[in-house]
Amino acid sequence: MSNAAIPPAVTQLIETLSELPGIGPKTASRLAFYLLRGKSELALRLADALHKLVENTRFCSICYNITEQDPCPICADPARDHGLICVVEEPLALLSLERTEQYHGVYHVLHGSLSPLEGIFAEDLRVKELEARLRAGDVHEVLLATNPTSEGDYTAAYLITRLKPFAARLTRLGRGLPVGGDLEYADAATLTRALEARQEL
């Protein structure tokens, strides 16, 4: 994309867009020129939305979910069971579990799963932070709800060795979830069954 005929601002946009997952250079160029042609100031509205995203959202300092206020509404809710922590890979999985309305504990978002082949290791996930929460006390159960994928299973197995010393009850989301899929795609009924059928570890 080092074409002299294209202004640097466009080149920079294309390069930035192609850093997004699932977007290659071709798609990035297409998107960039679409924004340039700009129906109803799409580019400005997008810029504004991105700006707000960065300015107004942050990670909850307790559970690392995405939130506009810290702590997040879930962590701040006294009606929830703060001694029950459900560990998920991504905020989207948390949303799916919330939609079941059957879970009344709090969460911990790892922001990924262990995947050495893609260069993602324990220190890249919010594992230390989870340990600190257990160390701080009064957690009676940790429910591991990583995705039913090979990476998710690996991450759960790793967390078990890491969290065993803290003596909290460790459970895993019940089977019956479609293997290989992400939690965010599971429907509420399936997730509810998985919540009810959680297994002691």
Binding site: G22, F121, A122, T161
Partner: protein, 401 residues
């Protein structure tokens, strides 16, 4: 069992092929590079779920399809068993991803139902004998492991599953070892992977040990027959990691089948495996590779105290490989209750008159043998009369007269 019908689309040299085969010895005649080997490869592809000749499925797609908009290849066969017919199919489809890369999808169907590769096991069994096979005896150990894996994969779906799980875990663990070796980090990340390797590794090793013990005793009988009782043959399994009691088990002499079939303490094996990982951890961190496990197993061909891989003459190696192929045939027959399909590619040329007679005699023991040759004169007249002959030229097959 036998192949009743074979249909290829865009596979290697074949733009399109649709052919019925009888339950009889089949002679494929034709010059080199006309598609004889590709036809045998296609059948083996359906039996093994992978090509015996390449690791790159991409290469199987016909060149004309490779340049068209929707590059794909299809292999399909109707397999006649004793009681029923089965239809096996593999489709390779290449597609362009939005980020500019291409990806190759491999879809496997058994009787029209989409299945994973492991579920192919047991539907079609073949023994493949190709001219380059003699190099197995003295070549790198990976080729001998692969050969054994291909055999076990034809019968045991759980072996395929364990093997692919094992290989994926090895590459994961190696990536993790390199990371930990360079940047430090939590060693506990190794634990789940090592547990996984202990489970699958012990299983792979046991399957190999049991199969090899049986193969070895079959191969020995064939080898003695072919050498007029002059020389015994052993297939010696030398597991990279082994803690089976008694510790001083002599692999030079091979294992008797009874020993190999006797119950083993799997838990003790796994435990020993875990301990081995701990013991070698520092070295593995330094080198960034997993040094222990069946991915480093060795298999040797021994005859009369001599390692044929190192010291065998070309003729001795040929006899040994022939004995192995015959042993594989017998093993498959015992495991499945059906005779496998024999696929022989140009192998007579390498054998002397006695061994030719021996090999051709075996054709009577199976329902179907497919033999590819450039020179029909190599086959005795009496044998030729029993066969159905096809001419192969430029990816087109026509029955002879």
């Amino acid at each position: 069992m036998y192949i009743r019908n074979l249909s290829l689309r865009h596979f290697r040299t074949y733009a399109r092929l649709e052919i019925d085969f009888p339950a009889a010895p089949i002679l494929l005649l034709g010059a080199n590079a006309q598609g004889k080997t590709s036809l045998l490869e296609a059948i083996a592809y359906l039996a093994l779920g992978r090509s015996p000749l390449t690791n790159t499925d991409q290469q199987l797609i016909h060149w004309s399809a490779a340049t068209s908009g929707m590059p794909f290849a299809q292999v399909q066969a109707e397999v006649q068993k004793q009681q029923h017919t089965e239809v096996l199919e593999i489709v390779l489809q290449r597609s362009q991803l939005s980020n500019g890369n291409t990806r190759l999808d491999k879809r496997i169907r058994v009787n029209q139902k989409a299945v994973r590769r492991a579920a192919l096991a047991g539907h079609l069994n073949v023994v493949v004998f190709m001219p380059g096979d003699v190099a197995l005896v003295g070549g790198p150990p990976s080729a001998r492991r692969r050969n054994l894996d291909n055999l076990l994969s034809q019968v045991h779906p759980e072996y395929i599953t364990a093997l692919s799980e094992y290989q994926r875990t090895i590459s994961r663990r190696n990536a993790l070892l390199r990371h930990l070796g360079e940047r430090r980090g939590d060693m506990a990340q190794l634990d789940p992977l090592e547990e996984q390797l202990a489970q699958t590794g012990v299983m792979i090793s046991l399957y190999r040990r049991r199969a090899l013990a049986v193969l070895s005793s079959h191969a020995d009988i064939f080898h003695q027959e072919m050498t007029g009782g002059a020389a015994w043959l052993r297939l010696a399994y030398r597991p990279n990691f082994d803690s089976l009691k008694p510790p001083a088990l002599d692999y030079q002499l091979g294992l008797l089948p009874e020993v190999a079939q006797s119950p083993v303490d799997v838990d003790a094996l796994r435990q020993a495996y875990r301990e081995m990982f701990l013991r070698r951890r520092q070295e593995e961190l330094r080198r960034g590779v997993t040094l222990t496990g069946p991915h480093r197993d060795e298999i040797r061909f021994l005859s009369e105290e001599v390692d044929l891989g190192t010291y065998g003459s070309r003729g001795e190696q040929r006899t040994a490989i022939l004995a192995l192929r015959l042993a594989e045939l017998r093993w498959l027959q015992q495991q499945t209750g059906e005779a496998p399909v024999l696929l022989l590619d140009e192998v007579l040329a390498e054998l002397d008159r006695e061994r030719r007679k021996y090999l051709l005699g075996l054709v009577n023991q199976v329902e179907q043998t497919i033999l590819a040759t450039t020179d029909v004169e190599m086959f005795p007249e009496a044998f030729r009369r029993k066969t159905r002959q096809f001419e192969v030229a430029g990816g087109i097959i026509t029955p002879v007269k």
